[in-house]
Amino acid sequence: MLRMLVIRELQTQYSRFRFGYLWTLMEPLGLSIILWMVFSVLLGPRNLGLQPYLLFLSVAMLPWWWFTKGVNSSVRSFRRNVAQLRISTLPTQFWVLRILLVSTVEFVMSLPVIVIAIILTRDLPGPFIIFFPIAILAQFLFMYGIALALASWNVIAPDVARLVRLVLRGLFYLSPILYSVSNIPEHVRPLAALNPLVGILGLYRIGWWPQEIEDMVHYGLSLGIGAMTFVIGWIVFRRLESRVLKES
Protein backbone atom coordinates (compact mmCIF):
# COMPACT_ATOMS: atom_id res chain seq x y z
CA MET A 1 0.00 0.00 0.00
CA LEU A 2 2.82 2.38 0.95
CA ARG A 3 4.54 1.56 -2.34
CA MET A 4 1.38 2.40 -4.25
CA LEU A 5 1.00 5.72 -2.43
CA VAL A 6 4.64 6.62 -3.11
CA ILE A 7 4.39 5.74 -6.82
CA ARG A 8 1.15 7.67 -7.09
CA GLU A 9 2.75 10.76 -5.55
CA LEU A 10 5.74 10.53 -7.89
CA GLN A 11 3.44 10.16 -10.89
CA THR A 12 1.50 13.25 -9.83
CA GLN A 13 4.69 15.26 -9.46
CA TYR A 14 6.31 14.30 -12.73
CA SER A 15 3.37 13.99 -15.06
CA ARG A 16 2.76 17.75 -14.95
CA PHE A 17 6.15 18.72 -16.30
CA ARG A 18 7.40 18.39 -19.84
CA PHE A 19 10.90 17.35 -18.71
CA GLY A 20 9.59 15.07 -15.93
CA TYR A 21 12.47 13.20 -14.29
CA LEU A 22 15.09 15.45 -15.88
CA TRP A 23 14.15 18.16 -13.37
CA THR A 24 15.39 15.92 -10.57
CA LEU A 25 18.84 16.13 -12.18
CA MET A 26 18.67 19.67 -13.50
CA GLU A 27 17.67 21.44 -10.29
CA PRO A 28 20.58 20.34 -8.04
CA LEU A 29 23.04 20.29 -10.93
CA GLY A 30 22.03 23.79 -11.98
CA LEU A 31 22.30 25.12 -8.43
CA SER A 32 25.71 23.47 -7.94
CA ILE A 33 27.01 25.02 -11.14
CA ILE A 34 25.66 28.46 -10.21
CA LEU A 35 27.25 28.34 -6.74
CA TRP A 36 30.49 26.99 -8.23
CA MET A 37 30.56 29.89 -10.68
CA VAL A 38 29.93 32.43 -7.92
CA PHE A 39 32.36 31.12 -5.33
CA SER A 40 35.06 29.71 -7.60
CA VAL A 41 35.00 31.69 -10.83
CA LEU A 42 33.43 35.09 -10.17
CA LEU A 43 34.94 35.67 -6.72
CA GLY A 44 38.20 34.04 -7.79
CA PRO A 45 40.06 31.20 -6.07
CA ARG A 46 39.74 31.49 -2.33
CA ASN A 47 40.13 29.32 0.71
CA LEU A 48 36.53 28.08 0.72
CA GLY A 49 35.78 24.37 0.75
CA LEU A 50 38.08 21.79 -0.78
CA GLN A 51 39.16 21.05 -4.33
CA PRO A 52 37.77 20.23 -6.84
CA TYR A 53 35.13 22.66 -5.68
CA LEU A 54 32.40 21.65 -8.14
CA LEU A 55 32.48 18.05 -6.88
CA PHE A 56 32.86 19.21 -3.28
CA LEU A 57 29.73 21.30 -3.69
CA SER A 58 27.67 18.65 -5.50
CA VAL A 59 28.37 15.93 -2.91
CA ALA A 60 26.75 18.10 -0.22
CA MET A 61 24.24 19.90 -2.40
CA LEU A 62 22.30 16.76 -3.31
CA PRO A 63 21.77 15.62 0.33
CA TRP A 64 20.87 19.20 1.24
CA TRP A 65 18.36 19.32 -1.61
CA TRP A 66 16.84 16.08 -0.33
CA PHE A 67 16.80 17.40 3.24
CA THR A 68 15.08 20.68 2.45
CA LYS A 69 12.55 19.18 0.05
CA GLY A 70 11.79 16.21 2.30
CA VAL A 71 11.36 18.25 5.50
CA ASN A 72 9.44 21.09 3.86
CA SER A 73 6.89 18.84 2.21
CA SER A 74 6.51 16.27 4.99
CA VAL A 75 5.77 19.01 7.55
CA ARG A 76 2.44 19.47 5.79
CA SER A 77 1.75 15.78 5.24
CA PHE A 78 -0.90 15.43 7.98
CA ARG A 79 -2.64 18.67 7.10
CA ARG A 80 -2.72 17.79 3.44
CA ASN A 81 -4.34 14.45 4.18
CA VAL A 82 -6.98 15.24 6.78
CA ALA A 83 -9.75 13.61 4.73
CA GLN A 84 -7.66 10.48 4.23
CA LEU A 85 -6.79 10.30 7.92
CA ARG A 86 -10.48 10.11 8.81
CA ILE A 87 -10.90 6.80 7.02
CA SER A 88 -7.39 5.43 6.94
CA THR A 89 -6.84 2.07 8.56
CA LEU A 90 -3.11 2.50 7.89
CA PRO A 91 -0.75 3.57 10.68
CA THR A 92 -0.86 7.37 11.10
CA GLN A 93 2.88 7.81 10.48
CA PHE A 94 2.48 6.39 6.96
CA TRP A 95 1.50 9.82 5.68
CA VAL A 96 4.80 11.31 6.77
CA LEU A 97 6.75 8.26 5.67
CA ARG A 98 5.13 8.42 2.25
CA ILE A 99 6.29 11.98 1.55
CA LEU A 100 9.72 11.20 2.96
CA LEU A 101 10.07 8.14 0.74
CA VAL A 102 9.06 10.18 -2.29
CA SER A 103 11.86 12.65 -1.60
CA THR A 104 14.27 9.75 -0.95
CA VAL A 105 13.47 8.20 -4.32
CA GLU A 106 14.07 11.58 -5.93
CA PHE A 107 17.39 11.90 -4.09
CA VAL A 108 18.54 8.48 -5.31
CA MET A 109 17.44 9.37 -8.82
CA SER A 110 19.45 12.60 -8.63
CA LEU A 111 22.72 10.82 -7.71
CA PRO A 112 23.87 10.78 -11.38
CA VAL A 113 24.63 14.47 -10.77
CA ILE A 114 27.60 13.33 -8.63
CA VAL A 115 28.67 10.98 -11.42
CA ILE A 116 28.56 13.93 -13.84
CA ALA A 117 30.67 15.98 -11.39
CA ILE A 118 33.16 13.08 -11.08
CA ILE A 119 33.46 12.89 -14.87
CA LEU A 120 33.95 16.66 -15.13
CA THR A 121 36.56 16.81 -12.35
CA ARG A 122 38.10 13.35 -12.94
CA ASP A 123 38.33 12.79 -9.18
CA LEU A 124 37.41 9.24 -8.15
CA PRO A 125 36.50 8.49 -4.51
CA GLY A 126 38.66 6.36 -2.19
CA PRO A 127 37.69 3.43 0.08
CA PHE A 128 35.86 5.69 2.56
CA ILE A 129 33.08 5.92 -0.01
CA ILE A 130 31.52 3.02 1.95
CA PHE A 131 30.30 5.69 4.36
CA PHE A 132 28.10 7.16 1.63
CA PRO A 133 25.19 4.68 2.10
CA ILE A 134 25.59 4.99 5.88
CA ALA A 135 25.20 8.74 5.48
CA ILE A 136 21.98 8.17 3.49
CA LEU A 137 20.58 5.98 6.27
CA ALA A 138 21.60 8.45 8.99
CA GLN A 139 20.03 11.33 7.08
CA PHE A 140 16.83 9.40 6.47
CA LEU A 141 16.40 8.64 10.18
CA PHE A 142 17.23 12.21 11.15
CA MET A 143 14.70 13.54 8.65
CA TYR A 144 12.06 11.02 9.74
CA GLY A 145 12.36 12.16 13.36
CA ILE A 146 12.14 15.83 12.44
CA ALA A 147 9.27 15.27 10.00
CA LEU A 148 7.18 13.26 12.48
CA ALA A 149 7.48 15.91 15.18
CA LEU A 150 6.99 18.89 12.89
CA ALA A 151 4.10 17.40 10.92
CA SER A 152 2.31 16.72 14.22
CA TRP A 153 2.98 20.22 15.53
CA ASN A 154 1.92 21.71 12.23
CA VAL A 155 -1.54 20.22 12.69
CA ILE A 156 -1.95 22.12 15.93
CA ALA A 157 -0.22 25.30 14.72
CA PRO A 158 0.08 25.78 10.94
CA ASP A 159 2.66 28.49 11.67
CA VAL A 160 5.20 25.66 12.06
CA ALA A 161 5.46 25.14 8.28
CA ARG A 162 6.41 28.77 7.76
CA LEU A 163 8.88 28.74 10.60
CA VAL A 164 10.49 25.62 9.15
CA ARG A 165 11.10 27.40 5.86
CA LEU A 166 12.92 30.17 7.66
CA VAL A 167 14.97 27.79 9.80
CA LEU A 168 15.94 25.73 6.75
CA ARG A 169 17.16 28.85 5.00
CA GLY A 170 19.41 29.57 7.98
CA LEU A 171 20.54 25.96 8.24
CA PHE A 172 21.83 26.12 4.65
CA TYR A 173 24.45 28.62 5.75
CA LEU A 174 25.04 26.97 9.14
CA SER A 175 25.88 23.62 7.54
CA PRO A 176 29.12 22.86 5.71
CA ILE A 177 27.71 22.87 2.19
CA LEU A 178 29.50 25.81 0.59
CA TYR A 179 32.47 25.37 2.91
CA SER A 180 34.43 22.63 4.62
CA VAL A 181 34.55 21.82 8.34
CA SER A 182 38.18 23.00 8.14
CA ASN A 183 36.89 26.50 7.31
CA ILE A 184 35.16 26.65 10.69
CA PRO A 185 37.45 28.15 13.36
CA GLU A 186 38.59 25.42 15.72
CA HIS A 187 37.06 26.92 18.85
CA VAL A 188 33.64 27.10 17.18
CA ARG A 189 33.68 23.49 15.90
CA PRO A 190 32.15 21.89 19.03
CA LEU A 191 29.29 24.34 18.68
CA ALA A 192 28.90 23.60 14.95
CA ALA A 193 28.81 19.88 15.75
CA LEU A 194 25.49 20.40 17.52
CA ASN A 195 24.06 20.46 14.00
CA PRO A 196 23.50 16.81 12.93
CA LEU A 197 23.99 17.82 9.29
CA VAL A 198 27.66 18.52 10.02
CA GLY A 199 28.24 14.83 10.78
CA ILE A 200 25.99 13.57 8.00
CA LEU A 201 27.53 15.76 5.29
CA GLY A 202 30.98 14.78 6.58
CA LEU A 203 30.14 11.09 6.02
CA TYR A 204 29.14 11.85 2.43
CA ARG A 205 32.37 13.68 1.74
CA ILE A 206 35.05 11.55 3.37
CA GLY A 207 35.15 9.22 0.33
CA TRP A 208 36.88 12.05 -1.54
CA TRP A 209 38.32 14.15 1.25
CA PRO A 210 39.51 11.83 4.05
CA GLN A 211 40.93 14.86 5.86
CA GLU A 212 37.32 15.69 6.76
CA ILE A 213 37.41 12.72 9.16
CA GLU A 214 40.14 14.23 11.36
CA ASP A 215 37.60 15.76 13.66
CA MET A 216 36.00 12.43 14.57
CA VAL A 217 34.93 13.43 18.08
CA HIS A 218 32.80 16.22 16.74
CA TYR A 219 31.28 14.02 14.06
CA GLY A 220 30.32 11.50 16.75
CA LEU A 221 28.58 14.23 18.71
CA SER A 222 26.82 15.48 15.59
CA LEU A 223 25.59 12.02 14.55
CA GLY A 224 24.59 11.25 18.15
CA ILE A 225 22.36 14.32 18.18
CA GLY A 226 20.92 13.15 14.84
CA ALA A 227 20.02 9.78 16.38
CA MET A 228 18.52 11.52 19.41
CA THR A 229 16.42 13.69 17.10
CA PHE A 230 14.90 10.55 15.61
CA VAL A 231 13.94 9.21 19.04
CA ILE A 232 12.56 12.54 20.24
CA GLY A 233 10.61 12.98 16.98
CA TRP A 234 9.01 9.60 17.44
CA ILE A 235 8.07 10.35 21.07
CA VAL A 236 6.57 13.72 20.12
CA PHE A 237 4.54 12.09 17.36
CA ARG A 238 3.23 9.39 19.71
CA ARG A 239 2.15 12.04 22.21
CA LEU A 240 0.42 14.15 19.58
CA GLU A 241 -1.04 11.35 17.44
CA SER A 242 -4.41 11.51 19.19
CA ARG A 243 -4.57 15.26 18.59
CA VAL A 244 -3.61 14.85 14.92
CA LEU A 245 -6.49 12.41 14.43
CA LYS A 246 -8.93 14.72 16.20
CA GLU A 247 -8.06 17.57 13.88
CA SER A 248 -8.76 15.43 10.80
Binding site: M4, T12, R80, Q84, I87, T89, P91, P158, S242
Partner: protein, 292 residues
Protein backbone atom coordinates in the same frame (compact mmCIF):
# COMPACT_ATOMS: atom_id res chain seq x y z
CA UNK B 1 -0.92 0.01 15.80
CA UNK B 2 -2.43 0.83 19.09
CA UNK B 3 -5.54 2.53 17.80
CA UNK B 4 -6.54 -0.49 15.69
CA UNK B 5 -6.02 -3.10 18.38
CA UNK B 6 -8.13 -6.20 17.84
CA UNK B 7 -9.20 -8.28 20.83
CA UNK B 8 -10.07 -11.58 19.18
CA UNK B 9 -11.56 -13.24 22.26
CA UNK B 10 -13.98 -10.34 22.90
CA UNK B 11 -17.51 -11.76 23.03
CA UNK B 12 -19.09 -8.72 21.29
CA UNK B 13 -18.07 -6.91 18.10
CA UNK B 14 -17.20 -3.64 19.82
CA UNK B 15 -17.25 -2.49 23.40
CA UNK B 16 -17.02 1.06 24.78
CA UNK B 17 -16.06 1.21 28.43
CA UNK B 18 -16.47 4.66 30.03
CA UNK B 19 -15.25 6.35 26.87
CA UNK B 20 -14.75 10.08 26.67
CA UNK B 21 -13.15 12.27 24.04
CA UNK B 22 -12.45 15.97 23.73
CA UNK B 23 -12.55 17.51 20.29
CA UNK B 24 -11.21 20.85 19.14
CA UNK B 25 -13.63 23.67 18.54
CA UNK B 26 -12.21 26.68 16.80
CA UNK B 27 -12.77 29.90 18.65
CA UNK B 28 -12.01 33.18 17.05
CA UNK B 29 -10.43 36.13 18.73
CA UNK B 30 -12.68 38.85 19.99
CA UNK B 31 -12.36 42.44 18.87
CA UNK B 32 -12.55 44.41 15.64
CA UNK B 33 -12.41 42.31 12.48
CA UNK B 34 -9.43 44.18 11.04
CA UNK B 35 -7.29 43.48 14.07
CA UNK B 36 -8.47 39.88 14.26
CA UNK B 37 -7.35 39.31 10.67
CA UNK B 38 -3.77 40.20 11.56
CA UNK B 39 -3.69 38.72 15.03
CA UNK B 40 -4.15 35.14 13.89
CA UNK B 41 -6.45 32.56 15.30
CA UNK B 42 -6.65 31.73 18.96
CA UNK B 43 -5.76 28.19 19.98
CA UNK B 44 -8.70 25.87 19.40
CA UNK B 45 -10.56 25.06 22.55
CA UNK B 46 -11.03 21.39 23.40
CA UNK B 47 -14.57 20.44 24.37
CA UNK B 48 -15.93 17.11 25.55
CA UNK B 49 -17.71 15.55 22.60
CA UNK B 50 -18.46 12.23 24.30
CA UNK B 51 -18.32 11.47 28.00
CA UNK B 52 -18.75 8.25 30.01
CA UNK B 53 -20.07 6.25 27.07
CA UNK B 54 -20.48 2.57 27.80
CA UNK B 55 -21.86 0.48 25.00
CA UNK B 56 -21.66 -3.09 23.70
CA UNK B 57 -22.53 -4.00 20.13
CA UNK B 58 -22.89 -7.76 19.60
CA UNK B 59 -21.59 -9.28 16.39
CA UNK B 60 -24.20 -9.27 13.63
CA UNK B 61 -26.25 -6.47 15.17
CA UNK B 62 -27.60 -3.54 13.16
CA UNK B 63 -27.36 -0.49 15.39
CA UNK B 64 -28.72 2.92 14.41
CA UNK B 65 -27.31 6.02 16.07
CA UNK B 66 -29.62 9.01 16.18
CA UNK B 67 -28.28 12.34 17.27
CA UNK B 68 -28.37 15.99 16.46
CA UNK B 69 -25.47 18.07 15.31
CA UNK B 70 -22.59 18.11 17.83
CA UNK B 71 -24.15 15.20 19.71
CA UNK B 72 -21.00 13.09 19.16
CA UNK B 73 -22.37 10.76 16.45
CA UNK B 74 -19.33 10.89 14.25
CA UNK B 75 -16.89 10.68 17.15
CA UNK B 76 -18.66 7.48 18.25
CA UNK B 77 -18.31 5.98 14.78
CA UNK B 78 -14.67 6.96 14.47
CA UNK B 79 -13.84 5.64 17.93
CA UNK B 80 -15.50 2.33 17.04
CA UNK B 81 -13.44 2.09 13.86
CA UNK B 82 -10.25 3.25 15.57
CA UNK B 83 -9.62 6.41 13.57
CA UNK B 84 -9.78 8.33 16.85
CA UNK B 85 -8.08 7.55 20.16
CA UNK B 86 -10.23 8.11 23.29
CA UNK B 87 -9.05 10.46 26.03
CA UNK B 88 -10.84 8.45 28.68
CA UNK B 89 -11.89 4.82 28.91
CA UNK B 90 -11.28 2.09 26.41
CA UNK B 91 -12.67 0.87 23.10
CA UNK B 92 -12.16 -2.80 22.27
CA UNK B 93 -13.14 -4.54 19.06
CA UNK B 94 -13.31 -8.16 18.03
CA UNK B 95 -12.46 -7.52 14.38
CA UNK B 96 -11.62 -4.68 12.05
CA UNK B 97 -14.44 -2.16 11.70
CA UNK B 98 -14.45 -0.35 8.35
CA UNK B 99 -14.68 3.43 8.77
CA UNK B 100 -17.08 4.53 6.02
CA UNK B 101 -17.11 8.08 7.23
CA UNK B 102 -17.14 10.74 4.55
CA UNK B 103 -15.13 8.54 2.22
CA UNK B 104 -15.95 10.79 -0.74
CA UNK B 105 -13.96 13.65 0.83
CA UNK B 106 -10.81 11.52 0.65
CA UNK B 107 -11.09 11.13 -3.10
CA UNK B 108 -8.95 13.17 -5.47
CA UNK B 109 -10.75 14.80 -8.36
CA UNK B 110 -7.61 14.93 -10.48
CA UNK B 111 -7.23 11.17 -10.30
CA UNK B 112 -9.11 8.68 -12.44
CA UNK B 113 -11.95 6.54 -11.12
CA UNK B 114 -9.63 3.52 -11.25
CA UNK B 115 -6.84 5.27 -9.32
CA UNK B 116 -9.32 6.44 -6.70
CA UNK B 117 -10.65 2.92 -6.30
CA UNK B 118 -7.12 1.65 -5.60
CA UNK B 119 -6.23 4.42 -3.17
CA UNK B 120 -9.50 4.51 -1.22
CA UNK B 121 -9.67 0.71 -1.20
CA UNK B 122 -6.14 0.69 0.16
CA UNK B 123 -6.98 3.16 2.91
CA UNK B 124 -9.91 0.97 3.94
CA UNK B 125 -7.69 -2.11 3.98
CA UNK B 126 -7.97 -3.73 0.54
CA UNK B 127 -4.59 -4.60 -0.96
CA UNK B 128 -3.97 -3.43 -4.55
CA UNK B 129 -3.77 -7.06 -5.68
CA UNK B 130 -7.22 -7.95 -4.32
CA UNK B 131 -8.62 -4.64 -5.55
CA UNK B 132 -7.58 -5.45 -9.11
CA UNK B 133 -10.14 -8.28 -9.20
CA UNK B 134 -12.84 -6.22 -7.48
CA UNK B 135 -12.72 -3.21 -9.79
CA UNK B 136 -15.42 -4.40 -12.25
CA UNK B 137 -17.76 -5.12 -9.31
CA UNK B 138 -17.16 -1.68 -7.79
CA UNK B 139 -17.76 0.05 -11.13
CA UNK B 140 -20.94 -1.96 -11.67
CA UNK B 141 -22.28 -1.20 -8.19
CA UNK B 142 -21.53 2.51 -8.56
CA UNK B 143 -22.98 2.62 -12.08
CA UNK B 144 -19.66 3.80 -13.51
CA UNK B 145 -18.93 1.01 -15.97
CA UNK B 146 -16.86 2.24 -18.89
CA UNK B 147 -15.76 5.35 -16.98
CA UNK B 148 -12.82 3.89 -15.09
CA UNK B 149 -10.22 5.93 -16.95
CA UNK B 150 -12.05 9.25 -16.54
CA UNK B 151 -11.08 11.62 -13.77
CA UNK B 152 -13.53 12.40 -11.02
CA UNK B 153 -13.77 16.05 -12.06
CA UNK B 154 -16.83 15.76 -14.34
CA UNK B 155 -18.71 13.46 -11.94
CA UNK B 156 -21.48 14.80 -9.75
CA UNK B 157 -21.25 14.65 -5.98
CA UNK B 158 -23.88 11.95 -6.02
CA UNK B 159 -21.84 9.81 -8.38
CA UNK B 160 -18.75 10.29 -6.22
CA UNK B 161 -20.69 9.33 -3.10
CA UNK B 162 -21.99 6.22 -4.86
CA UNK B 163 -18.45 5.30 -5.84
CA UNK B 164 -17.24 5.85 -2.28
CA UNK B 165 -19.94 3.60 -0.90
CA UNK B 166 -19.32 0.93 -3.53
CA UNK B 167 -15.60 0.76 -2.66
CA UNK B 168 -16.35 0.62 1.06
CA UNK B 169 -18.66 -2.36 0.97
CA UNK B 170 -16.08 -4.40 -0.98
CA UNK B 171 -13.67 -4.81 1.92
CA UNK B 172 -15.32 -8.07 2.96
CA UNK B 173 -14.98 -7.19 6.64
CA UNK B 174 -17.39 -8.26 9.37
CA UNK B 175 -18.26 -4.83 10.70
CA UNK B 176 -18.91 -1.34 9.35
CA UNK B 177 -19.21 2.09 10.94
CA UNK B 178 -21.17 4.14 8.40
CA UNK B 179 -21.88 7.81 8.34
CA UNK B 180 -25.11 8.91 6.72
CA UNK B 181 -23.42 11.29 4.30
CA UNK B 182 -22.87 8.48 1.83
CA UNK B 183 -26.35 7.82 0.75
CA UNK B 184 -29.05 9.68 2.58
CA UNK B 185 -29.47 12.39 -0.04
CA UNK B 186 -29.63 10.01 -2.97
CA UNK B 187 -33.08 8.37 -3.08
CA UNK B 188 -32.36 6.74 -6.46
CA UNK B 189 -29.42 4.86 -5.00
CA UNK B 190 -31.12 4.00 -1.70
CA UNK B 191 -32.68 0.73 -2.99
CA UNK B 192 -29.26 -0.52 -4.13
CA UNK B 193 -27.79 0.34 -0.76
CA UNK B 194 -30.67 -1.31 1.07
CA UNK B 195 -30.43 -4.48 -1.01
CA UNK B 196 -26.69 -4.77 -0.49
CA UNK B 197 -26.89 -4.12 3.24
CA UNK B 198 -29.71 -6.63 3.69
CA UNK B 199 -27.60 -9.21 1.92
CA UNK B 200 -24.54 -8.42 4.08
CA UNK B 201 -26.67 -8.49 7.19
CA UNK B 202 -27.84 -12.01 6.28
CA UNK B 203 -24.15 -12.93 6.14
CA UNK B 204 -23.74 -11.75 9.76
CA UNK B 205 -22.12 -8.35 9.14
CA UNK B 206 -22.38 -5.83 12.00
CA UNK B 207 -23.60 -2.33 11.15
CA UNK B 208 -23.26 0.81 13.21
CA UNK B 209 -24.91 3.56 11.18
CA UNK B 210 -25.35 7.14 12.18
CA UNK B 211 -28.40 8.63 10.53
CA UNK B 212 -31.56 10.58 11.07
CA UNK B 213 -33.34 8.40 8.52
CA UNK B 214 -32.15 4.84 9.19
CA UNK B 215 -35.18 3.33 7.44
CA UNK B 216 -33.48 4.30 4.17
CA UNK B 217 -30.79 1.74 4.73
CA UNK B 218 -32.50 -1.32 6.18
CA UNK B 219 -35.99 -2.63 6.80
CA UNK B 220 -35.16 -3.92 10.19
CA UNK B 221 -32.86 -2.52 12.84
CA UNK B 222 -32.08 -4.52 15.97
CA UNK B 223 -31.46 -1.52 18.10
CA UNK B 224 -31.15 2.25 18.16
CA UNK B 225 -29.45 4.66 20.50
CA UNK B 226 -30.05 8.36 20.85
CA UNK B 227 -27.08 10.61 21.52
CA UNK B 228 -27.50 14.03 23.06
CA UNK B 229 -24.66 16.28 24.21
CA UNK B 230 -22.15 13.47 24.20
CA UNK B 231 -24.19 10.97 26.22
CA UNK B 232 -26.46 8.06 25.36
CA UNK B 233 -29.92 9.12 26.49
CA UNK B 234 -31.79 6.11 25.10
CA UNK B 235 -30.88 2.58 24.12
CA UNK B 236 -34.01 1.02 22.71
CA UNK B 237 -35.89 0.00 19.54
CA UNK B 238 -35.77 2.17 16.43
CA UNK B 239 -39.44 3.12 16.76
CA UNK B 240 -39.05 4.40 20.32
CA UNK B 241 -35.74 6.06 19.58
CA UNK B 242 -37.24 7.91 16.62
CA UNK B 243 -40.06 9.30 18.80
CA UNK B 244 -37.59 10.46 21.42
CA UNK B 245 -35.31 11.91 18.75
CA UNK B 246 -38.19 13.94 17.32
CA UNK B 247 -39.06 15.16 20.81
CA UNK B 248 -35.57 16.56 21.39
CA UNK B 249 -35.58 18.44 18.11
CA UNK B 250 -35.00 15.83 15.41
CA UNK B 251 -32.75 16.05 12.44
CA UNK B 252 -30.85 19.16 11.49
CA UNK B 253 -31.60 20.90 8.27
CA UNK B 254 -27.99 21.32 7.47
CA UNK B 255 -26.73 18.01 8.72
CA UNK B 256 -23.04 18.12 8.20
CA UNK B 257 -20.12 16.44 9.98
CA UNK B 258 -20.70 17.09 13.59
CA UNK B 259 -17.15 16.85 14.81
CA UNK B 260 -15.64 19.61 12.79
CA UNK B 261 -15.03 22.91 14.49
CA UNK B 262 -18.22 24.85 14.40
CA UNK B 263 -17.08 28.10 12.81
CA UNK B 264 -15.07 26.78 9.92
CA UNK B 265 -13.79 23.51 8.59
CA UNK B 266 -10.20 22.50 9.10
CA UNK B 267 -9.00 22.86 5.55
CA UNK B 268 -10.20 26.41 5.33
CA UNK B 269 -7.79 27.27 8.08
CA UNK B 270 -4.82 25.92 6.14
CA UNK B 271 -3.54 28.80 4.17
CA UNK B 272 0.11 28.52 3.37
CA UNK B 273 0.17 30.24 0.04
CA UNK B 274 2.62 29.61 -2.76
CA UNK B 275 5.81 27.76 -2.06
CA UNK B 276 9.20 29.25 -2.71
CA UNK B 277 12.25 28.20 -4.67
CA UNK B 278 13.53 25.76 -2.10
CA UNK B 279 10.32 23.96 -1.70
CA UNK B 280 8.47 21.22 -3.44
CA UNK B 281 5.52 22.52 -5.34
CA UNK B 282 2.17 21.57 -4.07
CA UNK B 283 0.26 19.05 -6.10
CA UNK B 284 -3.45 18.82 -6.46
CA UNK B 285 -3.90 16.51 -3.51
CA UNK B 286 -4.79 19.11 -0.97
CA UNK B 287 -7.99 18.23 0.78
CA UNK B 288 -10.92 19.75 -0.93
CA UNK B 289 -14.27 20.69 0.43
CA UNK B 290 -16.49 17.90 1.37
CA UNK B 291 -19.29 16.67 -0.81
CA UNK B 292 -22.58 17.11 0.80
Amino acid sequence: MARFTITKDLDVMVEFDGVGIRMPRARKRKGPAKIRRFAGQASPEQVWRLRNVTLSVPAGQALAILGRRNSGREALLRLAAGTLIPDEGQVRRQAKIVPMIDVAAAMARNMTVRQNIYVIGGLLGITPKVMGDLIPKVAHLAGLQGQLERTLAPLTNRQINRLAWSIGVMTGDRAYAIDKTHISEDPEFAPTVKERMTQMRAEGVTFIVSSDRPELFLDHWDRAIVLERGAIIADTSLAEATILFDEIGGSDDEDRDDDLPVEESFEERDDLGEEEVWEQEDDGDRPRKRNR
